[in-house]
């Protein structure tokens, strides 16, 4: 009996909450909220709540082709690989204290899994032979090198301060919210997240006015639906990771919060970061790839290094 109930609860954890179903529903909800916030900031009404679901269903109904010369097997594996890797990363990120599985070093595993989609994105551009895809793919690699290093260094800072590479432990051991002890790290993590998710102003690889849709230009139908879902789930996982590492998960510092309100606090923090991402995408024009590379290496990386040194000094 024990084994059956444990298995059932593990299955529930993986498949429903905080696993697959929760991630997908959250991803679609966050995409809708993101679009509505951006629309309202621009003076428009925004899509209705079922728009992301409708888009997915529409894509599933479309023809699924790739150009001649593109490798169909690789082209089909790549979106599955990206979606699988972000969903696996979601297993280790605590949602309001609940986590599917946790072990020492799971932060590193999560970061590794979250960077697989970037490589798959570049490969997708390479594999679908069209000119726009190849140019977009090479730009996405350049962008990856510009933001990934500051992002990883910024995310290493909470681990250094908490002396553990386990996300649940970092959340538990934070005396106060990370954003107060390492504000620079938080800022760099948010900027890095914008680059990782390829949102404005860092959406250079898929800049519609230059390379139609970048590496995903030739994708359509089910494969494109999987790519879109990957981006959405990556947004959710990235935001939740930031909430755990820098905003204290579901703990509250100043005002004591009842047990039942802790998930709501977690949700509020996640939505706050989403609003910040939406605001950032509305505020700036798209940078050129060389301007981004300069920004990444001349500004972000030294700041991240400085933040790590400060953290090391604080720990002693």
């Amino acid at each position: 009996m024990m084994i059956v109930s444990e298995t059932l609860s593990a299955l529930f954890s993986v498949l429903v909450f905080p696993g697959l179903a929760f991630c997908v529903i959250c991803a679609l909800a966050f995409e809708w909220l993101d679009r509505v916030i951006i629309a309202r900031l621009q003076g428009r009404v925004g899509p209705p709540w079922y728009q992301p679901v409708a888009d997915l269903i529409k894509l599933l109904a479309k023809e699924d082709i790739l150009p001649t010369g593109a490798s169909h097997t690789v082209g089909a594996v790549l979106p599955l690989l990206s979606l699988a890797s972000v969903l696996t990363a979601a297993l280790y990120v605590p949602v309001a204290g609940h986590v599917v599985s946790s072990f020492e070093g799971d932060l590193i595993v999560v970061l590794f899994l979250l960077s697989l989609p970037a490589l798959a994105y570049f490969m997708a551009g390479w594999v679908s032979v069209g000119v726009y895809s190849v140019v977009g793919g090479s730009r996405s690699l350049l962008q990856y090198f510009s933001y990934e290093v500051p992002f990883l260094m910024a995310l290493a800072t909470p681990a250094i301060l908490a002396d553990s590479w386990r996300i649940s432990a970092i959340v538990a051991r934070q005396p106060t919210w990370g954003v107060f002890t390492m504000p620079l790290g938080f800022l760099l993590a948010v900027v890095g997240l914008i680059g990782k998710l390829k949102r404005d102003p860092f959406d250079i690889p898929k800049a519609a006015s230059e390379v139609v849709a970048g590496p995903l230009t030739e994708y359509s139908g089910r494969k494109l639906a999987l790519w879109h879902l990957t981006v959405d789930v990556q947004t959710v996982v990235g935001i939740m990771l930031l909430v755990n590492l820098f905003l204290g998960g579901d703990t509250s510092t100043f005002v004591p919060v009842a047990g039942w309100a802790a998930p709501l606090l977690f949700a509020a923090k996640a939505l706050g970061i989403l609003a910040a991402l939406a605001l950032a995408s509305v505020l700036y024009a798209r940078l050129r790839i060389d301007q981004l590379a300069q920004l990444g290496w001349r500004v972000l990386a030294p700041l991240a290094l400085a933040q790590i040194l400060v953290a090391l000094w604080m720990v002693g």
Partner: protein, 360 residues
Amino acid sequence: MDRMTIPIGPQHPLLKEPMSFNVTVEGERVLEATMRLGYVHRGIEKLAERRTYIQVVHLVERICGICSHVHTTTFCDAVESLLGLEVPRRAQYIRALLCELERVHSHLLWLGVLAKNVGFDTVFMYSWRDREIVLDIMEGLSGGRVSHAVNMIGGVRIDLDDEHVRGILERFDTLERQVDRALVLVEHERTLRARTQGVGVLTPEDVRRYCVVGPTARASGVDVDMRRDAPRPPYDELDVNVILHDAGDVWARTLVRTQETRESLRLCRNLLANLPEGPTAARARRRVPAGEAVARSEAPRGEVFYYVRSDGSDTPARLKVRTPTLPTLATLPGQLDGVAFADVPVVLAGVDLCIACADR
């Protein structure tokens, strides 16, 4: 890194109208660009030879959607000078009012297009939001947002009463406030300036060699503006400030156009305040006496030039239209040489293309 030829067009999210560029890049640097036009060629000049003058007025309106009124005004000007007709002053004021409103709407449209090409969707939404007010004013005046059909040979077919003028002036207050805020924003926005400064430079020598006109020429310091140089009433009574910049890059063109928008709004207010009384149209004969006539106007993109030759019947013998965008397009391969590939949309937006005008 080896060379790649990237086709831009005829269908591309960047282009509003079909035209074809083949851009050869090496890495991120553009080596050369070749251009093909003619996708929107409809043979308007030939079609005009088969239609009566009354029908041609509507035909030339459809050369371009953005500067439609200017085309009909210039054509009516040419025909009226062949007929020897004196257009009533009220009609001239109404024509000029719509010309300036069209300039405002065209520049706001252009600003949105530039912002979209740079990836700045917010400025695109804001400037087109303000453009909606202008379109609503034009719709209230003429019954259509894009094709106004206001001109007829001899005058205009609409009239403004006091209530109408008051309504327009009220909307002008909102419009001016919003446009001013949008323009201040554009002028101070660092990312926009970083993307457009130093890109797509045209020297004054190039401008003269290619006969470029309009805001593109004025941004390189070449002082040419038909409203001041070939004034037709009522521009001879108005004081038009010609705005010049000498950097010659896309940023300078942005500044010229934003300041011209403000100037046009001021001119509109002036026109509305001094609207003379009188009839709105003079009766015109259907048959036009034989002869040739030439008329020029300042369209939002530069000088538009009409040549009409009549053989005494009620259809034109020859209509020749020289639009400002064709020579500007000719400078594009030169401007694209050596820029980063990400700057290609910026350059294309900077010259304010209107392929429908260029192809006729």
